[in-house]
């Protein structure tokens, strides 16, 4: 497949976005009783996008992450990638979540930045709820 026909086939979605979108492993609600569950929600009225992130922790360790989303493929893929990345990690590493790096990795178009910020919002909220405000470290 040539570069152009590949680009044409992919359209506005990178291969990574397509992969995460096609097989989201972390969609849904957290398993009840698996630990402490911290849930945060955010929405963007302009596009109607809504996301809800639930993080199940055991101590400072993230045991599971689950999300629900009403939104575009980039948003779904980005949430999925976050969950994949931070499950098993510490809350501290989640607090260091880097939106710019995520958008770059998934090749999210810049005009979706405002929508992508929803992810930063819910992660901050979750971190706050879990007793570890991450504001100072995030978003750089």
């Amino acid at each position: 497949m040539s570069d152009t026909s590949r680009a044409v086939a992919l359209g506005p979605y990178s291969a990574a976005v397509r992969r995460y979108f096609a097989e989201p492993a972390h969609g849904g609600d957290p398993d009840p009783g698996a630990g402490n569950v911290w849930t945060a929600e955010a929405s963007e009225p302009a596009s109607g996008a809504i996301i809800r992130l639930s993080v199940t922790t055991a101590g400072r360790r993230i045991r599971a992450m689950r999300y629900r989303v009403f939104g575009c493929p980039h948003l779904i893929a980005a949430l999925e990638r976050c969950c994949e990345r931070f499950e098993g990690e510490s809350l501290e590493s989640l607090a260091e979540f880097d939106l710019v790096e995520l958008m770059r990795a998934l090749q999210v178009p810049v005009d979706k930045t405002v929508r992508m910020l929803l992810i930063e919002d819910v992660i901050r909220s979750v971190c706050k709820l879990a007793g570890r405000p991450g504001e100072n470290e995030t978003g750089t």
């Binding site: 291969a15 109607g48 629900r68 779904i76």
Partner: protein, 393 residues
Amino acid sequence: MNAPDNSRIVYLDYAATTPIDAAVLEEMTGCLRESASYGNPSAIHIAGRRARWKIDAAREDLARLLGCSARCLVFTSGATEADNLAIIGAARFRAHRGRHIVTVSTEHKAVLEACAALAKEGWDVTRIDPDTDGLVSPEALADALRPDTQLVSIMHVNNETGVLQDIARLGRLCRERDVLFHVDAAQSVGKLPIDVGDWPVDLLSLTAHKFHGPQGVGALYIADRAGCGVVPLLHGGSQERRLRPGTPALALIAGLGAAARIASGRMASDLVHVRRLHDRLLGGLAGLEGIRRNGSVTSNYPGIVNISAAGVEGESLMLALEPVCVSSGSACNSQSGEPSFVLKALGRTDREAQAAIRFSFGRDTHADDVDFALRRYVAAVTRLRALAPGQAA
């Protein structure tokens, strides 16, 4: 790596553009291949005469499809140009009599923006809102007409919803008031029977690529009656009775003629086929909850089915449908991401409009294609709903 294999495309976007008919293609390649022996139709030599003869024959073919005289047809580059020529051209033609025109809020942008351009030049434009089924009632039209109204423009079949207006009835109202009546029939010519000899229509636009002809060619029908006429938008050359100068595109016009000829022959059977596919599609959706058809369920062209599903986001739905090619609203709107103004005029919310999918199909669509699309659609809606938070449903 990871680029989707789209070699199997299920093309259900006929309202955007249709596959070219094999016989149309043959006609066109014949003209193109012999382009030196078919010269510029304005020339008097043998090559020019050959070209002119071909163009006359195509005009006759199209005239037969529409039930009019070939004299009344002006070839254009498509329905966009035909709409502009009809609306701006007729308004200018009648400007000395008055400067009010009437249209409908669910028309194609080519009509709405041509009207908007006139508004900037000082015309008064009334945009009727259709009812929530997308239909324009004769009463609503009668209310909009004024003593100074010169032109009414209402489309035959809506490109987003398939809604079919009662052109004969609306046209009679215009005739009674001596108002010119323009019909954008881009979505119906070649698919539904049209007889402009019988219809109270003064101007009618069409484009070849919506009925298996080539992109880049269309026509405007201009009734041969007193008070009806258009002022040209383009100048130079005496082609097309000076209404549309420029070297006529022989191969395109021959392709349009061939498409018209073919449509004349098989319109009835095509329509039976399309109706079957329509019923199959709607039958297959019957089990899915939270589904709503946009537009009238009784008055429509069955080759366009527009569906909103509650609780799913439009862009994700489109991606999940791949490799099924459909549109979310009008083709013109698909890139912008804006909710369709047509669906909003029918009372849909932004979210409903954004999640609307237009399935459109025709002559070459197989029942298999519809079944494939159905499976994808049901699976996609189910999956996206499962992913959505409660309040979005």
